[in-house]
């Protein structure tokens, strides 16, 4: 990616367009091919709509109910976003404390590591009982728990990532521990933090939608998907799934863009 970008800067607009087409053309072609095969396959073999509706039908529902679907998408996204903000900031904050006071790390990190193997989403019905199964609060709590541990682990690793020599340089300048922390550990941890944010962006959308499967108002994406599928409106359910995919990708892309803006050194000079 970076190589392509670096080269693009030196090209004429026409050549730049060609390079862009070569870079993204194959992906677009794959998408179109899959949609065409899907459509043709479903019609040719008379696949029942409840098994797999054709993309044209899903597209039609998407157009018809676009603003409604976007509305319920944003309702669910709100849960994902708040959970993400709470989980990631707590995770990063606890990582900072863990580096400062190692006993916190020793007390918490084994569980953070273990949580990778735990299906936190399985807690959703219980969290629903504690915080109200139809409220946004219970979904926010699930998402916050899901994003807390990966952010904690990655940020902690990032804060400990500087080479011993990099720390010795700070020592030789007689830097205070706050200076070493802010000017060395924190910037060194940024790539790790952004990796965590990218993982968490995806997790937060999954967490919000799946926890809505266990209860919530009809204006929630997860509830809408299960209820439409339950009453035989498969194309509607699929259209909602498309919206969910779009939200997930958009959220991920926002983090990627933020990463490039915050860490210009990470994307320049790889040519």
């Amino acid at each position: 990616m970076a190589v392509v970008q670096a080269n693009l800067k030196q090209l004429s607009p026409a050549a730049r367009g060609r390079a862009f087409a070569w870079r993204w053309g194959p992906a677009l072609a794959t998408l179109l091919l899959v949609l065409v095969l899907w459509e043709v396959g479903v019609r040719l073999f008379h696949v029942a709509v409840y098994l797999l509706p054709p993309p044209s039908l899903i597209g039609a529902r998407l157009l018809e109910r676009g603003s409604f679907l976007l509305g319920i998408g944003l309702y669910t996204f709100e849960e994902a976003l708040w959970g993400f903000i709470i989980g990631c900031s707590l995770g990063a904050a606890v990582a900072v404390l863990s580096v400062r006071w190692r006993w916190i790390a020793h007390g918490l990190l084994p569980f953070a590591v273990a949580s990778n193997a735990v299906p936190i989403i399985a807690l959703a019905p219980l969290v629903g009982i504690w915080f109200g199964s139809t409220t946004q609060g219970s979904k926010i709590v699930i998402v916050a728990i899901m994003t807390f541990f990966p952010t904690l682990l990655n940020t902690y690793r990032g804060l400990l990532s500087p080479a011993p020599e990099a720390l010795e340089l700070m020592h030789s300048y007689a830097a205070t521990s706050t200076q070493s922390f802010l000017k060395l550990r924190v910037p060194a941890a940024l790539p790790f933090l952004f990796n965590a944010l990218k993982i968490s962006a995806t997790l937060s959308i999954i967490g919000a939608i799946v926890s809505e499967f266990f209860g919530g108002p009809l204006k929630a994406l997860g509830v809408y998907i299960t209820s439409q599928a339950g009453i035989g409106h498969y194309a509607e359910a699929w259209a909602a799934i498309v919206v969910a995919c779009g939200l997930g990708m958009a959220f991920y892309l926002v983090i990627v863009v933020a990463e490039r803006l915050v860490m210009p050194w990470n994307t320049t000079g790889e040519s």
């Binding site: 080479a163 020599e165 990099a166 010795e168 340089l169 700070m170 020592h171 030789s172 300048y173 007689a174 830097a175 200076q179 000017k183 060395l184 910037p187 060194a188 940024l190 860490m263 210009p264 050194w265 990470n266 320049t268 000079g269 790889e270």
Partner: protein, 257 residues
């Protein structure tokens, strides 16, 4: 060689580590006096304690016995007074800082104002020939250029002692020789005392006022060989018969170690 009081006085220095198989003696009863502005190389096989000796001087590790006085102070005091500039084998630049901001780092830690930092870093980058790369990021530079930035960073606050741990060890032979020449030119403009750790015999002879030959198990000083080649030294120095004679002498002492 030393008429004036030594800037670094090392007395009966011993350093032991607790290894897996009991105690490892990294350095045993080392004594050495280093004069102000002297260029000293520490050379020897792996495990002879040359890096340990440098690290002890720089307060990066603590001695088990014996003493070090740096300008009459303990190494810890000298470090707090910012007497040490350090260059490691790896450049250890901070990826997220431009070349200029890397060089400014020590000044920033020491609380120098922005204008002063910019002036001094520009001066140092000119000295190492990297003026036009001020705004580049480290990973955009070659290994040799990165090490020049590291040298500029080590010298930007004018420390009185420069500690270099195999700084050119990772560079190819041609770059290495060019960097040695440049280092001597830069050193000539400062009053810094240099402690230079190396594996390379020609490098030690070319650079130094004295070559300290060390031997392992336990780490100790085998010989101290004065290098009386005239300065300034250049490529012709490397072809001087006397240069070869001195290199041979260092080699012989290393073989006996």
């Amino acid at each position: 060689m030393q008429v004036q009081a030594p800037v670094i006085a090392i007395n009966n220095l011993t350093k032991t580590y607790e290894g897996g198989a009991g105690q490892v003696v990294a350095l045993a009863n080392v004594s050495l006096q280093i004069g102000a502005g002297e260029f000293i190389s520490l050379i020897g096989p792996s495990g002879c304690g040359k890096s340990t000796l440098m690290r002890l001087i720089g307060d990066l590790t603590q001695p088990s016995a014996g003493s070090i006085a740096v300008k009459g102070k303990t190494p810890t005091c000298a470090r707090r007074d910012r007497d040490y500039g350090i260059v490691f084998q790896a450049p250890v630049l901070y990826d997220w800082r431009t070349v200029q901001r890397n060089v400014e780092l020590p000044l920033e830690i020491m609380g120098q104002p922005r204008s002063e930092r910019a002036r001094r870093s520009a001066e140092m980058l000119k000295l190492v020939g990297l003026s036009e790369f001020e705004q580049a990021y480290p990973r955009q530079l070659s290994g040799g250029m990165q090490q020049r930035v590291a040298i500029a960073r080590a010298l930007v606050f004018a420390p009185s002692i420069l500690l270099m741990d195999e700084p050119f060890g990772a560079l190819d032979e041609l770059t290495r020789e060019r960097m040695q020449g440049e280092l001597l030119e830069i050193w000539a403009r400062t009053n810094a005392t240099v402690i230079f750790v190396t594996h390379s015999i020609p490098e030690a002879v070319f650079l130094s006022d004295r070559v300290v030959v060390m031997s392992p198990r336990p780490g100790r000083i085998e010989a101290i060989i004065p290098i009386d080649l005239p300065r300034p030294r250049d490529t012709l120095t490397r072809e001087d018969p006397h240069f070869f004679a001195l290199a041979t002498e260092v080699r012989e002492r290393l073989r006996h170690s």
